[in-house]
């Protein structure tokens, strides 16, 4: 009895360990065979929510990819909210993946996490690279090298003021005069506010940043900006010291005092849903691939009209909007680049991913046009902006040839930022930058939402910024920028 129990106990333990070990080994074994066998599987990380018919989409896509270049893709989605936590772990641990949507593109490229694609892209993705406008190549250069295959999408961006059509129609408001500045919208906002005092006339929250015709080398949250009209020798300034920007803030403060901006704007983090009717005017970003308000209307599922606020501008952040990088740990760098080329040049593959299953979600009408069918559902396809070359996507039949012509012309004609391709190295002024951020955190939301008077606050902010070391940071960055301009002449 005694020994019997002992044997039972020990054998149970042994079984458990063996089972565990088997689990591990099995995985390892399958991984090895994949790497050495003929049919390679490339591991690819993508940001966003997995489409609900993911298996179906990938089955169709993988069949095509295998036919063309002999590999299959294991596409793994990482949710929007998890992205910032998971991707650094994957990169820092040196895990072996092949392709990823770029996370902190410049910083990680400088660290050596991504493979240098300058030559690889010329060799294995020449088709696509030849189609890609110059701005994408220039905007993605890090220290003279290219580390990404960018998605050709919204090459320029423009801030617009978007109006809720149901209110515009209901109260017969004239929004045609709104053009190019916040100030031009004052009249129509006031009229609306009289009629509907309870609905947010200008719907903004804590994260709102006032816009102006400037480019921001470190992003809009930092007080460093370059005016677009600076020809030849761009100068880094503090946007809060700029007259035009100050005037915008003054306008916003006026609005706030009149009740056109919600009183809790500086603390509100919940936002106003695009598809709701809790707002009258909001600020949105648009690009050429939005075909005016078409995409915005689709997302909102209601009629909207936008009026321009800033110029159409090609910036570094637009060029780096959706980058795909190849990991330096990847064992299949060539195949990875080859796949990215295929994804961006093969209309059948890309349209199948971005619009869903052909025949079920859409059907082709005409050469490069498609019609959406009833089977088209919002979460049964991938997103256009972060999947592949938007130029080879078929356009919906609701989009006219005129619009497509406009799109192509606007990409040609849009203004280019004087600092396109400039990536500031912040190593020398890291401490100053974090003190600057602390100062900004205290003032930014209040100033940008118009909650406090800019006349008295801005001088305060500027002196605090100087104390935090703004001058040092500006000097260092200006030096880098001068060098950059010289090198690019």
């Amino acid at each position: 009895m005694k020994t019997w129990k002992k044997v039972l106990g020990i054998s149970a333990l042994a079984l458990m360990t063996a089972g565990l070990a088997a689990c591990g080994n099995q995985k390892e074994a399958s991984k090895d065979s994949e790497a050495s066998g003929d049919s390679k599987t490339l591991l690819m990380y993508q940001v966003g929510d997995k489409p609900e018919n993911y298996d179906e989409l990938m089955k169709i896509a993988n069949k095509r990819i295998k036919e063309k270049i002999g590999v299959t893709i294991d596409l793994q989605y990482i949710g929007w909210g998890d992205w910032d936590k998971k991707m650094p772990t994957i990169i820092n641990s040196g895990e072996s993946y092949d392709i990823a949507f770029a996370y902190q593109y410049v910083a990680n490229a400088q660290k050596g996490a991504f493979a240098d694609l300058t030559e690889l892209s010329q060799k294995y993705a020449k088709d696509y690279m030849d189609q890609l406008p110059e701005m994408y190549k220039k905007g993605n250069e890090v220290d003279g090298k290219l580390y990404a295959i960018p998605v050709y999408g919204n090459a320029w961006a423009q801030q617009v003021l978007t109006f809720n059509d149901q209110y515009v129609k209901k109260y017969n408001l004239d929004i045609s005069k709104v053009d190019g500045s916040y100030e031009s919208a004052t009249e129509v906002l006031k009229q609306f506010h009289e009629k509907e005092p309870k609905i947010a006339a200008f719907a903004i929250g804590q994260t709102f940043n006032a816009s102006s015709n400037m480019d921001f080398p470190l992003g809009k949250d930092y007080p460093f900006a370059v005016r677009l009209d600076a020809d030849g020798a761009p100068k880094i300034i503090n946007q809060y010291e700029d007259k035009e920007f100050q005037n915008n803030l003054k306008t916003l403060h006026e609005w706030y005092k009149e009740g056109l901006i919600p009183t809790d704007a500086a603390t509100n983090t919940t936002g106003f849903p695009l598809e709701g009717n809790t707002w009258f005017m909001r600020e949105e970003t648009q690009g050429p691939m939005d075909y005016g308000d078409t995409i915005l209307r689709n997302a909102a599922q209601q009629d909207l009209t936008s009026r321009p606020l800033t110029n159409q501008l090609k910036t570094t952040s637009q060029a780096q909007m959706a980058n795909f990088v190849v990991s330096n740990t990847s064992k299949n760098k060539e195949k990875a680049v080859e796949f990215l080329n295929l994804l961006n040049t093969d209309p059948e593959l890309l349209n199948g991913l971005v619009y869903g299953v052909e025949g079920k979600a859409w059907e082709k009408v005409g050469d490069n046009k498609l019609k959406l069918l009833d089977g088209y559902k919002p979460n049964e396809h991938m997103a256009a902006w972060n999947t592949g070359n938007n130029m080879i996507l078929y356009t919906q039949d609701t989009i006219t040839d005129e619009q497509i012509k406009q799109r192509d012309e606007s990409i040609e004609n849009a203004q280019t930022s004087p600092i396109l391709g400039f990536n500031a190295k912040t190593d020398n002024f890291k401490t100053q930058l974090s003190s600057i951020m602390n100062v900004m955190n205290r003032y930014k939301a209040n100033l940008n939402t118009g909650s406090i008077d800019p006349e008295t606050t801005i001088p305060e902010l500027i002196s605090e910024l100087k104390k935090a070391g703004w001058d040092d940071a500006q000097k260092d960055m200006q030096k880098q920028l001068d060098q950059f301009v010289k090198d690019n002449k």
């Binding site: 995985k27 994260t207 970003t285 939005d290 997103a383």
Partner: protein, 308 residues
Amino acid sequence: MRKKEKVSKVEIRSFSPTVNIIFNIVIALFAISCVLPFIFVVMISLTEEHSLAELGYRFWPKEFSTAAYSYIFAGKMSTKIFRAFGVTIFVTVLGTVVNATMTSLYAYVISRSNFPFRRFFTLFALVTMLFTPGMVATYLIVSNMLYLKDTIWALILPMALGPFNILVMRTFFIKTVPDSIIESARIDGATELRIFTKIVLPLAVPGIATISLFAALGYWNDWFNALLYIQNDNLVPLQYLLMKIQSNLDFLARNAGMGAQIQGGLAALPSESARMAIVVVSTLPIALTYPFFQKYFVGGLTIGGVKE
């Protein structure tokens, strides 16, 4: 006589009634501050969605609705939620068993004074408590060395043994199991395994119940391991599902002005009351297990908390 009175006063260690009342009030306030938010959550989950938008949060909703619960149990997400619920229960049950087994085995061994390596193994456990390796190192071990990524074990094994529980159990064994009992069992001819299973374990039930509760709570509430190691939709636990919804919402709010293409790419998210209903569903079961552990809990924790 006077002397005697004085002595008895010293022996009775109680607070004066005023102090007692004050303490009671403090504790009551604390208890309310713990329970109130949860009641709030329950009430929001029972509120009609549009009245939530119009009137805001209320303790007594104007319009009751069970729509949020039918969303969970019959709606679009129900299969996902049920699956996640199953994963959570499985991980909690199996994980607690694994954790309790490993902890008590380890702790028992280092509690025995005649075990030659007890010092080493005690220190071995202590060191991991003082120096944590950090996330990247842990990630490397779990994903690249053990190949646990995308398996249910990735949710169980990283939390299977904790130094804190080991120390609690070790003290517990030392305090509640006298050496003489073990000795007498030895004299009667019991083997080590028999001593452990027949004598030590029954004596240590309160302690094991305590650490089991710790472990069960840990497993139930864990979402971080899932965040790091789980890609497969079928292995997502409930808490991670909640976290995902919440972080997607945060992302949306933080980047309100971003392009329409990006906004359109975000999947439709459940409404406020539905999210609160998921919170209720994910919290209630573990809260309900408390009363069953209660009777062991107080005794187990106090003995385990005493250091040698």
